[in-house]
Symmetry: C2
Subunit: 465 residues, 2 copies
């Protein structure tokens, strides 16, 4: 186990060593997505698309720039984001009449248009999403994928007839998250954030947090119930049967490149990262073991293997570099390729392939006739194993505490009366944050850890990124 | 045939009517991509990816913002783009020390990093591309997909050992364009632009132009040979066998949402647009013809059809709106869906479906057992037919002229001595632009149309967008 400091150093290092991002771009907090990292991110994006297309959302793309006057319509929202926005003040030689800002999130870009799109009952629910980059002038220390100033971002925005229909959307979003997490092998907890930590302008906010090896939680996503907080200033209404204009209720669902940051942080060992098969840009690497005799036969067989595996839908790479096999193993283990096939003259004679699993390091030999079945089974086993391992670690890091002096790294569960003062006292005493009330699980408390008031309500408390 | 004015009005109108973009966003030249248009664009993007991945390019993603000092390293490049860039001068409450600009194109974002990526011979060729939005403060009249201030952009950037290797890349790019054009049903001409019209910083520029119904050409893409014009100011070098540091030779290949603008402009009729099957977000729409008897049976059969067609890989939509079939036909014809299936009780009894082709308006009946074959054949026929039709129109719009007073709408071919003065004279006399010398086709001239000097060189001259 790495200490938090060791982990942080390892993380900063592996991002570049594994070829996920290049941090040398001459603006702080803005990295270059290199081929391998971008491919992984795009595979994650495709699962977002699959889920949101499959639940009737329409993918759209709104402009990056937002006029200052549109941005300023919802007061809390400006308070929340005002200090973080980048301002475009000039174009060519001209000073702009109205300054434009780079979207920190797209409510204020979309909602003036939703005002035009929603006219009647028949236009609802309006379910849209987009995958774009957003910009936030972070003042804290930046960290690849986790705290950036240009952020690869997913955002779903919906409009509904009433509060209940918006609530049903939030349920759908939680189901989507559950399916995504299984695919991405990412355990998480869901909490309703306390009022003082909700999204700027939201009625309430649900945070989706993963637990990092430092014992801190990372917010990977958030789901917001806006009620009519935005539809009022942006005048998004529909006409009901009686001709009255009713303000819609809205929800949003945001996720980002933090998902990739969480994946790398959670799935790794001393040799490097371990990518879940579903998002690995290379799922299988083939390393030829060239002997002095029959090198051509081995190469020909490797070529055949690539074709067969590609046809079966795998992302395969044949490593033909002029390096010793051991060096190649080292490289691909560092970069997290789930399965490696080693193939030499001896394997060919025995009609087998040798398969090495990245997660366990196990090497197994499979007869050629059972190869595809064997690969498919091993892929599934890797996916299941790394998810189960990560889930166990998280479960073991959730501690019930009845004394604020006894909080530990990880997630601390305690009783809370619901009072904001007691909440702040918890945060001050523990130097941690209140993640909020867990959603979908019950941890019955008996009394508030601060004031002792009798309560069944419990909250999660943790250090956060 | 629409007059140019009628065409322009029709175009501005159809973009919104067909649901491709919403032009009501409150910043001039920045539109909202609505679901249907964005899906078409993403399908086009996927063909870009297929081609560039297939030729060994790596997809990357560089930051949007570029520091002023990096931008200013290549003098001609600044001259070309300086007047068009958006400047970020503030973040939050702070004035930035170094102003940042929104990329108008990514040379000056990428090349400081290419300086780090290219060290030796083994790093070459470096072949990368990205699909991002770029920003240009256009002062001319804006037009959806054709002249925008936020532009959905494709850019490939490569580094090579020497000029010849960069030239080979340009050949590969032209082959890629030929394959893309067949897929997208887009005839085009390729010209080496005259020196006064090359890309800011390029050694030479090849323009890829389509011909619009207004008789003007539209530059859909461009390929640039940079030689070492950028590698010198950005110090991108590799070490050769003798330890000498050699500047790389570079190329770029740019395309944009103009491809979609060209598609809509070229493939349409009085009923609306006609989308080539490969980029149609909906390839087949099913319209149930509900009679008073047996409505359930028809609906059940329609549901079955959707499943079968989806399984065969088609993008299918079942139109269940409470509208008369004729209204539905009108809608989907306007939006360019290539094939429509009409299905009623009579068809069911006869074990057939009725298929309507968008390009010809033909309706054919196909037996259920030959349905998939019939659909596949009709799709191919549509693709071939609209491409052939567009090619014929373009071929017939290329005119040889030997008198500057006789130029016509479309592309005019004439002899040119190669002198810049004569080139400008041609442009002044015709109020057209010199597209340049055609690449890959020969139109032997005998003398320069201006000065009469004997020459075999001919050029294309046209009005442009």
């Amino acid at each position: 186990m790495r200490t938090p400091d060791e982990f942080n150093e390892w993380y900063q290092d592996i991002v570049e060593k594994a070829g996920l991002a290049d941090k040398r771009y001459p603006i702080k907090g803005m990295n270059v997505w290199t081929g391998y990292g971008w491919k992984a991110m795009r595979l994650i994006d495709n699962y977002f698309r699959e889920e949101f297309d499959g639940t009737g959302h329409d993918e759209v793309c709104f402009p990056l720039l937002i006029p200052q006057n549109e941005f300023q319509k919802e007061a809390d929202h400006i308070k929340g984001f005002g200090a973080e926005v980048y301002w475009v003040t000039h174009a060519g030689e001209n000073k702009l009449d109205i300054p434009l800002l780079l979207r920190p999130t797209s409510e204020t870009a979309m909602y003036p248009i939703f005002h035009l799109w929603v006219r009647s009952h028949a236009d609802l629910p309006l379910k849209t999403y987009q995958i774009v980059n957003v910009f936030r002038y972070e003042t804290k220390q930046t960290r690849a994928f986790i705290r950036m100033r240009e952020i690869h971002f997913f955002e779903a925005h919906t409009c509904h007839e009433d509060f209940e229909d918006a609530e049903a959307q939030i349920k759908e979003n939680l189901d989507i998250m559950a399916r995504l997490a299984r695919r991405l092998c990412l355990p998480y907890v869901v909490c309703k954030r306390p009022d003082w930590d909700k999204f700027a302008g939201a009625f309430y906010t649900i945070g989706i947090d993963s637990l990092m090896p430092t014992g801190r939680t990372l917010q990977m996503g958030s789901i917001h119930q806006y009620k009519d907080n935005f539809s009022k200033p942006y005048d998004i209404t529909y006409e009901d049967e009686n001709g009255a204009h009713i303000h819609v209720h809205q929800t949003t669902y945001g996720m980002s490149e933090r998902i990739l940051g969480a994946l790398i942080s959670i799935h790794n060992d001393e040799r490097g990262i371990i990518l879940p098969p579903d998002i690995a840009p290379i799922q299988i690497v083939i390393v030829p073991i060239i002997s002095k005799t029959e090198p051509e036969a081995v190469m020909a067989r490797c070529g055949e293997l690539v074709d067969v595996l590609k046809k079966s839908g795998y992302r395969v790479h044949l490593d033909l570099r002029d390096l010793r096999p051991g060096n190649k193993f080292y490289d691909w283990e560092l970069r997290g390729v789930p399965l490696r096939i080693e193939l030499g003259a001896r394997d060919m004679k025995a009609n087998i392939i040798t398969l090495a699993r990245r997660d366990t390091g196990e090497r197994v030999q499979i007869g050629n006739d059972a190869m595809l079945e064997g690969i498919s089974e091993n892929m599934k086993a890797i996916q299941a194993n790394i998810f189960a391992k990560a889930e166990l670690i998280m479960r073991n890091s959730i501690h019930n505490v009845d004394d604020l002096k006894k909080v530990q790294p990880g997630i601390n569960v305690m009783g809370w009366c619901g009072g904001e003062d007691c909440g702040h006292s918890i945060e001050q005493a523990t130097e941690m944050s209140v993640l909020g009330e867990p959603v979908g699980v019950t941890h019955s408390a008996t009394k508030c850890i601060v004031c002792g008031t009798s309560t069944e309500k419990s909250i999660y408390v943790a250090r956060t990124y």
